[in-house]
């Protein structure tokens, strides 16, 4: 079976071109064509790349008897949803790299242009183009079928799809620069795709999907409060909570409820619950850090990624104090993947700043700046470092080595 993405879309466009140039045939049945053509053109203009055409039916567009019914069939709501789900499974095939999966989804399922994807990823068009070409090549060469995987394989494949959707969401949510409008759209699209899966009758195990949906909605509801008017990033503590999107937040809570009857707790369940604690706190000061720390304890049992470990340390600092959290981070420094992770040092610096130890904080920030991969992050950290140095110059804090070596 051929993949829809190139072949089928082309054949539909070809059919319509043919109709357009050739005009309505002399024989009376021509008007059947016209009906089908106008309908198809209207819908295609509206939907653009938002959907794919399933290859089994595309050739039926070329017959006078079947063109009309085939168009109706292709554009029935259910078929559109089925196709999008099939496309998700195809794009998220394990043999395609995660980067390419995300680019492919944005292009084929969300209708983003290559420049838009490049902007969202802070990279250039050529780079995105390469990723797409590689992914399509892989799909052709590996003959990845355009289908919802049957039976048992669907469960593990679904996990990959959810991981990719979460990755997509985080691409939109976490980076500190790029066009805001596009980044927010990326988040919305991730939510939309998860909603399609959650609503689909062929997917049986829904608890994890609801949890992921809840997580993305609860986080998204704070999207607009995360920057001040000058575009500076605000921490949760600094955010104006009246800017939160409470309608979206409510949907998140509803989905979190739906996700709970389960005997298989996923990372999405835990992360969504943590997010819900932040959302339900009346203010930063009244956040229930104890419960959040317990949740992070459970999280690191199933996911000991650097981000999870660092976030746990933050929660630990709120419950046990910065000193204990620093000791914890110093232990984590021995883990190879964390040793070179700039955020470890950035978080450590935050703890020192919280204890007014600006010299120590400056040391850590210096390390973080050396390791940070993105310009935007370096600028953010350098600002912090400048603040620390200013505090040190006020004279009530002992100078640190790195401060002296910097010579200002």
């Amino acid at each position: 079976m051929d993949l829809a993405e190139d072949v089928v879309q082309d054949s539909l466009i070809e059919a319509i071109k043919h109709w357009t140039y050739k005009g309505i045939p002399d024989n009376p049945s021509g008007w059947l064509f016209r009906v089908a053509k106008n309908k198809a053109l209207n819908i295609i203009n509206r939907e653009k790349y938002k959907r794919q055409y399933s290859s089994d039916v595309a050739h039926l567009l070329q017959s006078e008897w079947t063109a009309g019914p085939a168009v109706n069939h292709l554009f029935s709501e259910k078929e559109i949803l089925d196709d999008q789900l099939r496309m998700m499974f195809t794009c998220c095939h394990p043999s395609i790299s995660p980067d390419s999966q995300v680019a492919l989804i944005l292009k084929t399922l969300c209708g983003f242009s290559i420049p838009e994807i490049a902007k969202a990823f802070l990279t250039n068009d050529e780079n995105i183009n390469k990723r797409l070409v590689r992914a399509r090549q892989k799909i052709r060469e590996s003959k990845i079928p355009f289908e919802i995987p049957p039976g048992k394989s669907s469960k593990s494949r679904l996990q990959t799809v959810l991981e990719t959707i979460y990755l997509l969401f985080n691409e939109g949510y976490s980076a500190s620069t790029g066009t805001d409008l596009i980044r927010y759209e990326v988040c919305e699209e991730a939510i939309r795709l998860a909603e399609i899966i959650a609503a689909h009758e062929l997917i049986e195990e829904k608890s994890t999907i609801y949890a992921l949906l809840a997580l993305m909605q609860l986080n998204s509801s704070r999207f607009n409060a995360r920057q001040d008017t000058e575009g500076n990033i605000l921490t949760l503590e600094q955010q104006n909570r009246s800017l939160w999107d409470f309608a979206l937040m409510k949907e998140g809570f509803i989905n979190l409820d739906k996700s709970l009857p389960t005997n298989q707790i996923s990372i999405y369940h835990i992360l969504a619950t943590i997010s819900s604690y932040h959302c339900s706190a009346p203010g930063y000061g009244s956040t229930d850090w104890k419960s959040i720390l317990t949740l992070y304890d459970r999280l690191v049992e199933i996911d000991n990624s650097p981000v999870a470990l660092l976030n746990r340390a933050v929660a630990l600092s709120k419950v046990e104090g910065a000193k204990i959290a620093i000791e914890e981070l110093q232990k984590l420094q021995n883990i190879p993947s964390l040793k070179t992770y700039h955020l470890l040092y950035a978080v450590m610096a935050e703890f020192y700043i919280g204890m007014d130890q600006f010299g120590q904080a400056a040391d850590q920030l210096q390390k973080a700046i050396e390791l940070a991969p993105l310009d935007a992050e370096r600028i953010f950290l350098q600002k912090k470092l400048a603040n620390c140095n200013e505090k040190i110059f006020k004279g009530n804090v002992p100078f640190s080595n790195s401060h002296l070596s910097l010579g200002h």
Binding site: N27, P28, S29, L32, D56, V57, H59, L60, S63, E64, W65, T66, G68, P69, A70, N72, H73
Partner: protein, 117 residues
């Protein structure tokens, strides 16, 4: 699943022998029938057959090609469908609403397609 070729033969043509109202209804019913075959994954292909068919025949070692003599019966078109067996294919053919509109015959031929490709 097996492949079947359904050949439709009608007396007269829907385009000339039906009133505009009947034609409208014919198109609606036919569209619904075909739409359902698509939805159920039964239909592989279907095409109407136009005017001007030719017939090639051999007689005494000579190939002749001449007009396809259609008396009052015309070959209206074909359906290529998949069905579990001949009985199911026959039932699918019987459901064609063309039977309400014109005197119709449908030939149901089992195709010897290679399975599993």
């Amino acid at each position: 699943m097996k492949d079947f070729l359904l050949i439709l033969k009608t007396e007269g043509s829907v385009w000339t022998d039906l009133s505009p109202e009947q034609l409208q209804k014919h198109i609606e019913n036919g569209g619904a029938y075909i739409g359902n075959l698509i939805k159920e994954g039964i239909l592989k292909n279907a095409n109407p057959i136009g005017k001007g068919s030719r017939l090639i025949s051999e007689s005494n070692g000579v190939l002749k090609d001449g007009p396809f003599n259609e008396s009052k019966e015309v070959v209206a078109g074909y359906f290529h469908i998949v069905a579990k067996d001949m009985d199911e294919a026959v039932a699918i053919a019987k459901a064609n609403p063309i039977f309400n509109d014109l005197p119709t015959k449908i030939e149901v031929h089992p195709m010897m397609a290679v399975q599993g490709i």
